[in-house]
């Protein structure tokens, strides 16, 4: 359950910020989840909501934003989306870790590898 580690991180960041700001209530939390971060959003939501019980963040709305994967090719300088092939035989998407333009494998994933907590809205009296 690596989602537990991500959830714990969200909970810690939000509650620390709430304390720092003397917040009476956390209204919403915006979390960006990269397509290659291997994070199950429903599980994170479950863990975070559980951990927030009895805190100022108890009623916080969790907003998850999915972010696609992008790459930069070190061979031809292409910058754009990582290609994902849909395979109807398996009903699944296969990412291709290569440049969609020149085929080089010397690529750098510039977006979609991680998850970020972007912003929170909180209420102060």
């Amino acid at each position: 359950m690596h989602e537990a580690a991500i959830a714990q991180s969200i909970v810690n960041i939000v509650l620390e910020e709430a304390e720092k700001q003397n917040a009476t209530r956390i209204e919403s939390i915006e979390i960006e989840v990269g397509a290659l971060s291997f994070i199950g959003v429903d599980q994170v939501r479950f863990w975070v909501e559980n951990s927030f019980e009895g805190t100022v963040a108890e009623k916080a709305k969790l907003i998850f934003i999915n972010v696609k994967a992008c790459l930069r090719c070190q061979s031809c300088a292409f910058e754009g989306d990582l290609r994902v092939e849909e395979d109807p035989a398996f009903h699944m998407s296969l990412p291709k870790f290569a440049c969609p333009k020149c085929g080089s494998s010397k690529i750098e994933i510039t977006q979609g590898r991680y998850a970020f907590i972007r912003r929170i809205k909180l209420v102060k009296d």
Binding site: H2, I6, T24, F38, K96, A98, Y114, R118, I120
Partner: protein, 222 residues
């Protein structure tokens, strides 16, 4: 900070912009720096339970013991079975029990590195927890990542877990001797992997007999 007034108080919008894996990333860099300082190469070994991670490491240790001084960090949910098996082959082994945790992270590996006698080592194998999902997203601070899949896991190991190859440079397709009995086409497994990652080095191995281990050593650059 943007502020909006509501009836019950002021709503403040606060930008956080924190990477939820940021701490792990930082420790990855620290682990790599520590290893580089001691001229040690580290290999992160991923694969599901029973794929043959331990047998493959055992074979690598047996083949490389005259060339390198080696240690293994064996991650497991419980038990020291894997650690004991690698120790048998002559490598120093440190066991990390994750107590239920599904992957090793850079922090656990850092703690292990602190307990190893780094001055006396050239090569460290980090055997990750048997799992083909979670470890894929958590780099531990090794120079290379090898994934071990085996024919007994069936024909769909690669297409069902494409993410595991994200950071991998070498794939060992293990238990090739059982391919026929399992009705698994190893060339298809290889083709699936290369479709996802065209520069992946794919080696067919048999962890029990040592077949393919020389090719694996070459692919790893050891």
């Amino acid at each position: 900070m943007k502020t909006i007034h509501t009836e019950e108080g002021k709503v403040h919008e606060i930008r956080i912009d924190k990477n939820l894996m940021g701490k792990n990333n930082l420790l990855v860099q620290q682990n790599l720096a520590l290893l580089d300082k001691h001229h040690i190469k580290a290999l992160d070994v991923l694969g599901s339970i029973g794929s043959g991670k331990t047998s493959t490491i055992q074979q690598l240790v047996s083949h490389l013991k005259d060339k390198y001084k080696m240690a293994a960090v064996a991650g497991d949910i419980t038990t020291t079975i894997d650690a004991d098996r690698i120790k048998e082959k002559g490598a120093h082994v440190l066991q990390i029990n994750t107590d239920g945790g599904c992957h090793l992270d850079a922090n656990m590996v850092r703690n292990a590195l602190e307990l190893l006698e780094l001055e006396a080592l050239d090569l460290i194998f980090v055997e990750n927890v048997g799992n083909l999902i979670c470890p894929g997203g958590w780099p531990v601070g090794a120079h290379q990542r090898m994934v071990v899949v085996s024919t007994t896991e069936g024909p769909y190991m690669i297409v069902k877990h494409p993410g595991i190859l994200r950071d991998a440079s070498v794939l060992a397709i293990n238990k090739t001797d059982l391919a026929e009995a399992m009705d698994v086409d190893i060339e298809q497994l290889k083709a699936d992997a290369l479709k996802i990652k065209p520069d992946l080095k794919v080696v067919f191995t048999n962890g029990r007999t040592g077949e393919g281990i020389q090719e694996l050593i070459q692919a790893l650059g050891f």
